[in-house]
Symmetry: C2
């Protein structure tokens, strides 16, 4: 009799366990976070603000759709960033700013948290969507980072058409360059009235795979050949299924020297900090103490998200499978 009871209890426990695991599977959280750059954002006309919000919403929805349909986080990241690159509003792809020689030089990077594979390009001038090329570097080459003409040569080998650099010309960006040149001497790097235009996306898919990507047109009037943090794995972009996926925006030099994107992961892995605490500490303590402006977006393997910044604004938003959703520009 006691034996039968024992078996009964064991079976009940097993059934309970299986149902819990199943529920857990159903509950698997997924979602994504995006950004369109941080900086001193003020006096945006209401009409323009609406355009920003609409584009952020569109990108979030397109990326989320992929995740919802069971697609992988890399595809979501790529899709979101491509949308932002094709839009004039953000400093990446079509909306890239001009360097001091009046040329558009674009950078991008992407990282797969499942494999730690990564791809990045810097200083390309004839690539319509740098994020697509970064992904090809990751998936179709044994290398991680290609620069300038070498990156464009690789693009051609991959069958990507090089476009006329004229594509990146916009009157607004040209005027910004002229304005920056007028101010020359007062170097724009220390100019706080500046948006660190970069776009980025981090995503967690239904299979628990994390991915991160970043794309930028650099800084208006930056010196020819200067590379910021966006194409640097560990600085502007990092993803690791063990911890989190991160994309940064800000004063690139400081983000490189502080290995910001990887540092979030290291604080989580080595110090057992939460994603939120790690990101907050880096942006609002470590970087702030160095007078370094910027922000980051992050998502961890549980679907927790964070979007800290130490500037007056950051174009940002997220959408999660638990229904939570936000799209914002300014502080709360």
């Amino acid at each position: 009799m006691i034996r039968i009871k024992k078996y009964f209890v064991c079976t009940l426990i097993c059934l309970l366990f299986i149902s819990c695991v199943d529920k857990e599977k159903d509950k698997t959280k997924f979602g994504l976070v995006i950004h369109g750059g941080a900086g001193v954002i003020s006096n945006i006309p209401a009409e323009k603000e609406k355009e920003y919000i609409a584009k952020l919403n569109e990108a979030i929805e397109e990326g989320y759709k992929i995740l919802e349909q069971g697609g992988n986080s890399l595809d979501a990241v790529e899709t979101v960033i491509k949308i932002l690159e094709d839009c004039l509003l953000f400093n990446a792809g079509k909306g890239a700013v001009f360097n001091s020689d009046g040329i558009n030089e674009l950078d991008a990077s992407i990282m797969d948290g499942a494999t730690l594979n990564a791809g990045a390009i810097t200083g390309v001038r004839r690539i319509k969507n740098p994020i697509l090329l970064a992904r090809l570097v990751m998936e179709k080459s044994v290398h991680v980072l290609f620069t300038g003409e070498g990156a464009e040569k690789f693009a051609q080998e991959m069958g990507i058409d090089l476009i006329d650099p004229e594509y990146f010309y916009t009157e607004e960006r040209w005027k910004s360059l002229e304005k920056a040149k007028e101010k020359e001497g007062q170097t724009q790097v220390s100019d706080k009235n500046f948006i660190y235009g970069t776009v980025g996306c981090v995503a967690l898919d239904k299979n628990g795979n994390l991915a991160a990507g970043t794309s930028t047109g650099g800084m208006t009037n930056k010196k020819f050949g200067r590379v910021g943090d966006s194409p640097i794995i560990g600085a502007g972009t990092y993803a690791n299924n063990k911890t989190c996926a991160v994309s940064c925006t800000g004063h690139g030099e400081y983000f490189i020297k502080n290995c910001v994107a990887y540092d979030v992961s290291a604080l989580m892995e080595y110090k057992r900090m939460s994603l939120k605490d790690a990101a907050e500490y880096i942006i609002n303590n470590k970087l702030k103490n160095q007078n370094a402006d910027g922000g980051l977006i992050g998502i961890d393997k549980f679907g927790n998200v964070t979007m800290p910044f130490n500037t007056s604004g950051m174009f940002r938003g997220y959408k999660l499978s638990d229904g939570k959703r936000e799209v914002k520009i300014y502080k709360d």
Copy 2:
């Protein structure tokens, strides 16, 4: 009487304390570690081996002299790397290998542990000593990383003469390229019979300031425009007075994806690991598990040194103010 005794005891303790502090000041350890690349090193003729050892000794002594005379760690690092760049034996500067287009593309980086300032250049073709230019980027620009022609333009602004790329032509390196091209298809990156030619130096000066630097000619037959870990702050080079200074050599792509140089520092700062344990863990556990070859050199703020590698050899050596000294090529 008791009061006098108390004063006497207090004075004695104070004197003892002062003498201890003074001794500690005298004892301030300083020194440096250098490397000339890791890889499958075998069958070096005895005569050539002597040349390698002699050059490593020369570089160590020149760097040490600077530290001994109270010079700073950045000067020691720069001096050591310049000596190795000017020598045909190592894959950096004069001895740089050819890329797949038969061109020499050089990279270098340097970091100051006291300020976290850093400078780096990648893909230069007409710079005799890339390490000097990296230092100028750190000290004379507001940027961290310059690529290709942009870096050379900056060099000219700094008064550095651009040299004829012919300077880097050596028959031995050209033959290596031809050999690599013959083997094409079998990509050289996964070819284990390969020395990851890079040179590097880390130093601790009498003032407790750490510095790190790395310089390379890349990989023989590498794709035009490919960037490895050497010019990437946090991957190939990192220095922070709080923890350590590190310079890496190995399969660059893995060193980038694992943010190796910064990871040593992060393990020390966040996990309270010793320099030796952190470096050993990364090279012989983390990287080995990814089938990633290479090694690193490190020195911490107390003057402890480490030189782990997971290949058959690494050109390396160190000299410390406590009299310890070693110059080696193979495993113990």
